[in-house]
Amino acid sequence: MKRIGVLALRRLAQSVPVLLIILIGLFLLLQLAPGDTVDALLAQMGGGDAAVAAQLRRDYGLDVSVPVQLGRYLVRLLSFDLGMSAIYGKPVASVIFERLAVTALFMSCALAFAFSAGLVLGVLAARRVNGWPDTLISTLGLVFYAIPSFWLGLMLIVLFSVKLAWLPPGGFESIGEGLTGMAHVLDVAQHLVLPILSLSLIFLAIYLRLMRASMLEVMTLDFVRTARAKGLSEGHVLRRHVLRNALLPMVTFVGLQFSTMLGGSVVVESVFSLPGLGRLAFESVVQRDLNTLLGIVLVSAVLVIVVNFIVDLLYAKLDPRIVAR
């Protein structure tokens, strides 16, 4: 356990320069986008005079040169202060924290669903390779892979919310009902079914293809033949020998695709009006809320680093020959 702790700290320390480069790069990149958050505010107001705009620029600290702004930001960052959000008038840390829970719940459910369903379907397809289950599953996988998530989301809404009225069309929970306990959990679950489906199907398709290919490859290896020769049952061979080895590329992919999923959640959160990080990021770009955007990027980068760290640990668990260093 202590070894893992040391490892985690070392990984984090190694990623500090990367994080800094990302932040500074993004800061400079955003300077290239014309207009600042005061322009965005004026756009929202539909008018405003120059004196008021100048006053607002002073309030938001936009009246100084870019290097000074960047310097101020980095100095604040040293004391773990992410600054104030221009849109929300609150510290960025608390704005992000409020949204993080929604995104974390949403993404972990989507990831878990895509992973487990992809795994099961992939194994099924591999066991009956070229049989009808394989053809059916592979075709479905292709279809899922080809459908863009925003369109799928809208179609799911039309079918399940508008036509059938089974599930709510958007939002995170029923508003103003004051639900608690189990009723609240069920309410949130109902709201999340469609978004999770829209986000995860494309990843499910990838995992299922990967799992199928990986299973097929491992099944041809010598140690599987040996296991069969030992007289082990087919189920035992699959579970103990094939699956474990076939999982390695899957786990790699989960780590790699986690960031892609974060990106995909922007679209899905917009379609389903989920108050998550993705929508916050989109909103902060549109409104040129630099502090919030940098904060989100920082948090997302840390998330990706953490997930990949966990993946490394999982490797070691799955295959004792690999040691996380």
Partner: protein, 538 residues
């Protein structure tokens, strides 16, 4: 009965001509019922919910149920007292006295007094509020001889009609005891407003929803307000928004919040009312602005030729699904006190447009070639389908007369910077909102003198001293009849010089479930207090 969009349009125009009086043509009104939750869809949320420091429909649609103005417009479009009971003005136009309503309490229990009006006017409307800073530029003081009288003193004549028509938008009163001595811009009450209105702020979950609940002590009494609660949901995706309406999660989508294709589809659905009625006070023009710094566009004949090249009837019917009509000048036909009927100034005539360009010295070098050496750079205003589609339409129309247009799409901050600060455009589209009196936010498009970077002003290098004079004379004219005549001079110059082509006139479209009753009965209903709105049983 199904209402086609053409009927809606015709009804809208008829009303506009009749003076925006939507109280006509109503069947027997059923008795209002108490109770129920009205859920409203909004495309975006705002940074503040304080209409005394931010004048925009996005703020009014939420905050004006909680915070009230001194004056609103009644069903006939005439000023009617809300927090002011009555008013009188001095003959010189320098003094306007408002007699305030008695027995009104803030939501925190404190009484509403003249000091609140004084504070709101001097500290918010005059110093911070967009459009207010211009309107109240010459407001010297607000005196409070007693707790229920507020005397506005101006250093230049202020026409009473202008003040009264501006107050519904630029005259919301916030409590002095909450704001005085604080930084008004960052006061927490900006996102948890305290007002005198029919609904009391309850909860604001950023990015999700806002809830306001019935104010049981509302000053109008008589069982008002009827609704128990209003919920505003922020649904930014327009397709998802119409799904929310169709699934019954939402009952009302204000301010053209849905895609026009969905609006057109829902207008054929018997469950919903789709109409511009109740939004006449929020009429706007979709315009084409031309940068006079560009040599070709500096010639008025060229500008007129470009206007003649646009088949606006086709645009309205096919791009806007008929929810609009031809613009006739910067004052829309819905503005009864100022509008004098006139024909659309630049009817579609492609041959004439080509001839005018030939005569101006921009002949086509050969058939199919382009007239200008450099293409015109068009920045579409990112204010929704109207302005974005209009840009595409302009591009295609002008190509027909041999003028090449390159479109450079930008988001809101990028657009404002490009057009108003850097002047880095030749053409742009725009959404010009009319605020019930031309002096509030219409003449500013044509007057010189706005500093560089001030958005929604004349930043296209248009400079005509006769125009400036006409604007200034009308702004301080006290006689209402004479003032109306003065504005005809303004309209004539604006149309003849055409730095801005007020191409299409339209009001916002409301889409709401038929069970929403007592609604859309005033010309700025979506921005009003909804004290008499109610829901029929589902």
């Amino acid at each position: 009965m199904q209402t086609t969009r053409r009927q809606v349009l015709v009804a809208g125009s008829a009303l506009a001509v009749a003076g925006g009086g939507p109280a006509l043509a109503q069947g027997p009104v059923p008795a209002p019922q108490r109770g129920g939750t009205l859920t409203v869809q909004l495309t975006s949320e705002q940074r503040v919910l304080n209409p005394a420091i931010q004048a925009s429909t996005g703020v009014y649609v939420m905050a004006s149920k909680i915070v009230e103005p001194l004056v609103d417009l009644d069903a006939q479009g005439e000023p009617v007292g809300v927090l002011a009971e009555r008013w009188d003005g001095s003959a010189d136009g320098l003094t306007h006295t408002f007699h305030l309503r008695r027995g009104v309490n803030w939501h925190d229990g404190k009484p509403f007094v003249a000091r609140d009006v004084q504070f709101s006017a001097m500290e918010c409307w005059k110093k911070i509020l967009n459009y207010g800073t211009t309107l109240y530029q010459f407001l010297e003081a607000v005196e409070t001889p007693d707790e229920h009288t507020a005397v506005f003193r101006f250093s230049k004549p202020m026409p009473q009609g202008l003040l009264l028509r501006a107050l519904p938008d630029l005259g919301h009163v916030i409590p002095a005891h909450v704001y005085a001595g604080t930084d008004i811009r960052t006061n927490p009450a900006n996102t948890a407003p305290i007002g005198t209105g029919p609904f009391v702020f309850k909860q604001y979950e950023r990015g999700q929803y806002l809830i306001a609940e019935r104010n049981p002590n509302y000053w109008r009494g008589n069982g008002q307000p009827y609704l128990d609660r209003i919920v505003w949901r922020f649904i930014s995706d327009r397709a998802a928004a119409s799904a929310a309406l169709e699934s019954g999660q939402v009952q009302f989508s204000p301010y053209s919040g849905l895609a026009l294709s969905d609006i057109s589809r829902l207008s054929k659905d018997a469950r919903y009312t789709v109409s511009t009625r109740g939004n006449e006070g929020n009429t706007a023009h979709t315009v084409m602005e031309m940068n006079l710094r560009r040599a070709e566009l500096a010639k008025v004949e060229v500008r007129r030729a470009l206007c003649h090249a646009l088949d606006l009837g086709f645009f309205i019917e096919n791009f806007l699904y008929g929810y609009a009509k031809l613009g006739t000048g910067p004052i829309p036909s819905s503005s009864a006190p100022f509008y004098v009927p006139r024909a659309a100034p630049y009817p579609f005539d492609r041959a004439k447009a080509e001839r005018m360009l030939d005569d101006a010295g921009y002949k086509r070098p050969s058939r199919g070639a382009m007239r200008f050496a450099q293409p015109l750079k068009l920045l579409p205003a990112p204010w929704g389908e109207y302005t974005v589609n209009f840009a595409t339409f302009i591009q295609q129309s002008l190509r027909e007369i041999g003028v090449r247009v390159e479109i450079e799409a930008r988001d809101a901050p990028g657009f404002l910077t490009g057009v108003y600060r850097d002047h880095n455009f030749d053409l742009t589209t725009g959404w010009h909102q009319y605020r019930n009196d031309p002096a509030v936010s219409t003449t500013v498009w044509f007057r010189t003198g706005s500093p560089v970077g001030a958005p929604w002003t004349n930043q296209y290098g248009y400079d005509n001293p006769a125009m400036d004079r006409a604007i200034d004379v009308a702004a301080t004219e006290l006689n209402a009849m004479k003032r109306k005549a003065d504005y005809q001079e303004f309209v004539k110059l604006a149309v003849d010089d055409v730095p801005v082509h007020c191409a299409v006139e339209h009001a916002f479209i409301s889409v709401y479930a038929k069970r929403l009753m007592g609604s859309h009965n005033t010309p700025r209903w979506s921005s009003s207090s909804w004290h008499d709105a109610w829901l029929a049983p589902a």
